[in-house]
């Protein structure tokens, strides 16, 4: 590989981690809101939590953990000089992202069918705690869903670069940073899942 431009892979990763910390604080803020309102409206939160589908939530947890495994394996693959496996593993990750979003679509559709969506008559006329719970649910899982879409698009773009040979065993920090973003998506879900689906 040519060394026309000086590269600083550690600096690139450090920058990525700094960005991930801002993401951590972004979702952290939503979790703080959740905790404060859980303390204020424990009964409404409990009732709201029981309306969520534990089977779908658990399935999505397994799907995201698997997607993270495949993303981490893609980094191992490119570092050991296997671009074809790298692309295949990234396709697996992106496939899992698709499955996640399809399941999320069915989950949200079921909520909409029950008249649960932001500003719906049921929530407007119901107890305040209920609408707070579902507002936070849609905001948090929606923001997380946007991250899934962005992460999937990012890994698709990076995968095409691996396929074209512009990312290689010696020059793969872009792939590493892309997968770091993907793992963050997984990390956020690791907390959303118990907080919204399990403990209430």
């Amino acid at each position: 590989m040519s060394h026309l431009l000086p590269r600083d892979d550690v600096g690139a990763k450090l920058g990525m981690w700094l960005f991930l910390f801002t993401e951590l604080l972004l979702f952290g803020g939503l979790f703080i809101l959740y905790a404060v309102y859980l303390a204020r409206y424990p009964h409404e939160f409990s009732a709201g939590g029981h309306e969520l589908n534990v089977v779908m939530g658990t399935t999505n947890t397994v799907v995201l953990l698997t997607s993270s495994l495949l993303a981490a394996m893609a980094v191992t693959a490119i570092k050991t000089g296997k671009p074809k496996s790298t692309v295949a593993l990234l396709l697996g990750t992106i496939g899992c992202a698709g499955i996640f979003l399809v399941i999320k679509y069915f989950e949200w559709s079921a909520k909409f069918a029950h008249g649960i969506y932001p500003g719906s008559p049921r929530l407007v006329h119901g107890p305040p705690g209920e609408s707070v719970f579902f507002s936070l649910y849609f905001l948090t899982t929606g923001l997380h869903g946007i991250h899934v879409v962005v992460g999937g698009a990012l890994l698709t773009w990076i995968g095409t670069k691996v396929g074209k040979g512009s990312l290689t065993a010696e020059n793969n920090v872009m792939l590493e940073n892309g997968t770091l973003y993907w793992h963050l998506v997984d990390l956020v879900w690791i907390f959303i899942f118990p907080l919204y689906y399990l403990i209430l």
Binding site: D9, L14, W17, T58, A72, D186
Partner: protein, 100 residues
């Protein structure tokens, strides 16, 4: 196999497929545990149990999938700073909300 280039700057540490799969299996077992624990009526205990398990799962993802274990110390220091910042936000928020 690739230990010969371990002297290069940056993380050329390579985590094997086997290690990654082992981490994934642990994550799945922890997921089963957290679902099982929260199906039992433990009162407030299940909240703390679920959060503790989520923290362990995050630790595994960060250490192995995200290679934090193999990065320079600086990465762990700034990670610690970010966690402390979040903890301060949480602490001050509840100091306000609980004693209002």
């Amino acid at each position: 196999m690739s230990d010969h280039d371990a002297h290069k700057e940056g993380s050329v540490h390579i985590v094997s497929y086997g290690q990654l799969v082992a981490v994934w299996v642990s994550l799945l077992l922890l997921t089963v545990t957290t679902v099982a624990v929260t199906r039992v009526d433990l009162g407030a205990g299940k909240v703390w149990a679920a959060l503790a398990i989520a923290c362990v799962k995050s630790g595994l993802v960060i250490a192995f999938f995200m290679h934090m274990k193999y990065e320079a110390r600086l990465f762990r220091i700034i990670f610690f700073v970010a966690l402390v910042t979040l903890a301060v936000f949480i602490g001050l928020t509840f100091f306000d909300v609980l004693y209002r």
